[in-house]
Symmetry: C2
């Protein structure tokens, strides 16, 4: 086995590794914080990768044929940024004066604010799962020969998400994925779990269906050969590199207590000098191979239509809408082994070539969607809404990446009935609203669902759709518009004395309650707040003014952070007196029929009637 190319020889790469070390030290010492020792251990690995293996057109970060490089150990950002300098896209001045400074794009951990960064990292165990998503795109959708390289730390091998990623990489035979594990033996507070037991890692990696290559991570020849082998593999490769933390600065090599700590100025100065001082080597990257541009034509979308009054579960309407939307080439879907329940099976049936089964691995489900989004796909990922909580850290990070992902969580709330609380999402509205830049939608019927699925596809960032298990009457005409940020007023008059606000299943309860109240001569406005975030503040404010502040907000969710919170936040600075009855699931539900559980939770029509009457008599 020989290296693919020899345009830069070993001594040159050794010089480059020195430059990467010098720059990692310089920028972190200048910043007064950062992780130089975690950068030094991987400098040789990255010098070889950058010089000989990373096919990347640095003048065109958007080039579809570019390889992808992800720092799963995002704290080694000094090394990554030093590579950008060596690639000629970052000035030495910006590197040394920008790192970790206010307003700079060179943040403590990399984010896509930088055009060469696909995904934000810094929460360990996430970069590799994202890489699996990009590699899936390359192998199954793009059919392009780009390779995905992920630099991992050894500490993060303790994260279950790493094993979800390697399992799926093996299952899908992703030979275009290489994980490079920088086994430097030391974590933040001391030795890692398995230190330098390379055979422990090897056994695990191989058991999970990947090829393991154990090398000396400071031997440039071994590194080079490993990367050649990795690129040509038909299974995913994990390069297990035995390295030394702090390599190149003898005083702190393999010493505990130097994680996340810049070198003091004097040590930095001495070390930089010993490493040959600052220099300005610039890499000539391996060329990106020419690739065919396969432009797929969109076919017309044939949206499902529903008859008003017919009973359709929004989760099934989601599947129908998604299957229709699949006419657009960039729309793909994933599910975590529950597609028959979420409705996504209908997409899988219509578009099997762009549906990805993630089995019961919700972290990888979301990470794959983020990876696909990094390649320009509009990825819809679905599971029970309750189980999106399994991937909450990935959703949080997707917010930081500003990833364009679309989520559907089915089986929301106590409405699901006999399965009991473990399957009920009762905190998802709170969790998803609190993700940066998110949109949160909760349709009450099949028509709204259809329109909102369409809207999600064209709305940037993380969009979440909450669906209901049971079938309820279609409320709307097929052609009604459902803009994000809007609402629907289903009943109104000039004499409204109270407003009933719901979303999803509780809209139906509000309508039933309004009927009962009407029979008593009480005219209640009914508003469908299908857009939970952003909410329709104008309509809510008008309801407050028109009813003297008498609102009943009803949600199939715990009381904290859901629909009620969204309504209250929209009114906080209005100065309007408010008498708001908030009906939510305060006690822990058990099993029962949906009707029994909605009633026991105090969110059924009779409870809404009682709450409205109470507001009108106090």
């Amino acid at each position: 086995m020989t290296a693919t190319r020899t345009h830069e020889d070993m001594p040159w790469m050794r010089e480059l590794a020195g430059q990467l070390r010098v720059d990692s030290i310089r920028c972190s010492t200048a910043a007064g914080s950062g992780h130089p020792t975690s950068s030094l251990s991987a400098a040789d690995l990255m010098a070889v990768l950058l010089t000989r293996h990373l096919r990347y057109d640095w003048s065109q970060p958007e080039h579809p044929g570019n390889d992808h490089l992800i720092f799963s150990k995002g704290h080694a950002s000094p090394l990554l940024y030093a590579m950008f300098k060596a690639a000629g896209v970052l000035s030495d001045h910006e590197l040394v004066n920008g790192f970790r400074r206010f307003g700079s794009r060179l943040q403590g951990h990399p984010t896509p604010v930088l055009p060469w960064v696909d995904v934000a990292t810094g929460s360990l165990g996430q970069g590799l799962p994202y890489g699996v998503g990009i590699a899936l795109a390359g192998a199954k959708l793009d059919h392009l020969p780009y390779h995905v390289w992920v630099l991992c730390g050894d500490s993060e091998m303790a994260e279950g998400s790493i094993w979800e990623a390697l399992d799926k990489a093996g299952f899908y035979g992703l030979g275009n994925l290489t994980a490079i594990v920088d086994v430097n033996r030391l974590g933040q507070r001391g030795p890692t779990e398995w230190e330098w037991q390379m055979e422990v890692y090897r056994r695990r990696v191989e058991a999970f269906g990947c090829r393991a290559l154990v090398i000396d991570g400071h031997d440039l020849d071994q590194i080079d050969q490993a990367f050649v082998t990795a690129r040509d593999a038909d299974v995913p490769t994990v390069v297990l590199a035995h390295t030394v933390k702090g390599k190149g600065v003898p005083e702190i090599e393999d010493r505990n207590g130097w994680h996340g700590r810049p070198l003091p100025a004097d040590l930095a100065e001495r070390s930089v000098a010993a490493l040959g001082g600052p220099r300005a080597l610039r890499v000539t990257p391996p060329p990106v191979p020419a690739h065919p541009t396969a432009v797929q034509e969109a076919t017309p979308i044939s949206w499902p239509r529903y008859e008003q009054g017919s009973r359709v579960a929004t989760r099934m309407a989601y599947g129908d809408a998604l299957a229709a939307l699949g006419a657009r080439p960039e729309v793909v879907a994933l599910d975590a082994e529950v597609s028959n329940s979420t409705g996504a099976a209908r997409f899988a049936q219509a578009h099997p070539e762009k549906f990805f089964e993630m089995f019961i691995a919700e972290q990888q489900l979301i990470a794959a969607a983020v990876g696909l989004a990094a390649r320009g796909y509009v990825a819809f990922a679905s599971t029970f809404a309750a189980f999106l909580s399994r991937a909450y850290d990935f959703l949080r990070m997707a917010g930081i990446s500003r990833a364009n992902i679309k989520l559907c969580g089915s089986h929301a709330g106590a409405e699901i009935g006999p399965d009991g609380p473990s399957q009920m999402a009762l905190e998802d509205l709170a969790a998803l609203q609190a993700v940066h830049g998110s949109t949160v939608l909760y349709p009450a019927d099949a028509v709204a669902t259809t329109h909102l699925v369409a809207a999600m596809a064209d709305s940037p960032g993380l969009c979440y759709l909450r669906t209901t298990r049971g079938a309820y009457p279609v409320l709307y005409n097929t052609d009604e518009p459902f803009p994000i940020g809007g609402s629907k007023t289903l009943r109104t008059s000039d004499a409204d004395t109270v407003a009933l606000l719901g979303a999803g299943v509780t809209v139906h309860e509000c309508l039933a309650a309004a009927e009962t109240l009407a029979a008593d001569g009480i005219t209640a406005r009914v508003i469908d707040l299908y857009s939970v975030k952003p909410p329709d503040a104008d309509t809510i404010g008008r309801a407050v003014r028109d009813t003297g502040g008498r609102l009943v907000v009803v949600e199939d969710h715990y009381p904290q952070g859901g629909l009620g919170a969204a309504v209250l936040a929209s009114l906080a600075d209005t100065g309007l007196p408010l008498h708001l009855a908030h009906l939510a699931v305060a006690d822990l539900p058990g099993s029962g029929t949906p009707a029994e559980l909605l009633d026991a939770a105090g969110i059924s029509a009779p409870h809404i009637v009682t709450a409205a009457r109470r507001l009108l008599t106090t």
Copy 2:
């Protein structure tokens, strides 16, 4: 190798397995929902376990010497409840008429509402991690010979949390833990990822440091021998049982489309008859061995004391308080490889024998705490607050278990500075408030931290403490009380025209703002809302009345679901006009100094001053 005991012979156990099958069918068909086929596959395994291996005094579920049985595949609840009937603690009437019914304790998935259930399951991949926590208690704290048996499904082997659990079981050498994997080849919507490839499972389990025993899960002899071997092991054992989904009902054996589906009445009737009809075998359980009762004496707690005005980080105060609290024998602690940052290292140093390093595996961190709590320990688990999001599904389920766990999340908010947004918890207050039955605390200084750590230990359920990275002045006298649900009014007068409400780091900003306002002749009340959930509604309401509704609420958190939401919820039904300025982190922060980032987020003192002035002029 022979079975440990022979009080019930193989034919008897075969009969019992038949009864478990019959009862699984009967109760689910009666309920009209449930998972009989997932129960049938494991009936032989459980018949042998219950008869010969599960040392359990069914009249004393609290007996400290009892073995523990966890159904990680919680959807096989029909089988578990059938076992309870065979153990003589559940009547046939309750089993058949209670399963999945409203108000019944026999919910769709098991919860600790039942005295024989340690932890709620139903979110796959969680039961085994909980089992690791209980096994840790047995091996490292209780020093009792009980064994922990966990029944897993094969689908859930795709969850990363399973591998976090096996890794930690191997690392800690938990020979008192046995996972029994019911490899029935079929998941919810079709074949599992690895179907009956038993060698794939074997390789993985062995690579993760456990002993694997591959058996025919319907051969009672093989099962019996495996369990004998497992109990005597000095490493954790995983029994990989090749089984058939629906075993015992030939028409649906190994057929797709029968997950989560009760047998129709006619098929149920025929099957029950073919399986020998209903019967009432009752198991005589293996005796629980006598055990020494080692009662540890509590030593007096010597709480840390702080001087007002000195600068102390609340995260370090957490460590000091926890180390002091460790004088109580039942108090234990865990951390996810960041104890030098969270402060927990101080506990580890003081009480190394009851500190558990979970490395970077946050799901297992929380699961271990839940498992320890099931054995009566008061377990404090800490990591960066941002990374608690990794375990959100476990926190959600801990709420359903009503688990008595104590959490500390450090490095909250934009205040952390240069590390950037991946390390900033900006959604934790929303996420943790939305966990059922949670308590959420956020101290502004070291004294408050000390008192709140003490209060958490004695407050039931999930309590979360949010701490700050930087050191800020001690505000309170050491002997001030800090009851949960309280607040501290730091500045007040009869002439307050505006109230500034903060928690944690923003309390210091509010105080600085009040100084500035005072210099302008504006008297502002300052309230430290250290108890976010439950909030001090009385004090908040009084502030609204006293100031004409002029509140400035300031939090180092995204705008959704945090302190502002808690304040608004406490005022929703008061009818008081409100002019609330809510200052929160609306835009995505980058890197910078804490001061720069607080200011850029609009939550620093100057922004509070501006908001207060605006409220007073409009």
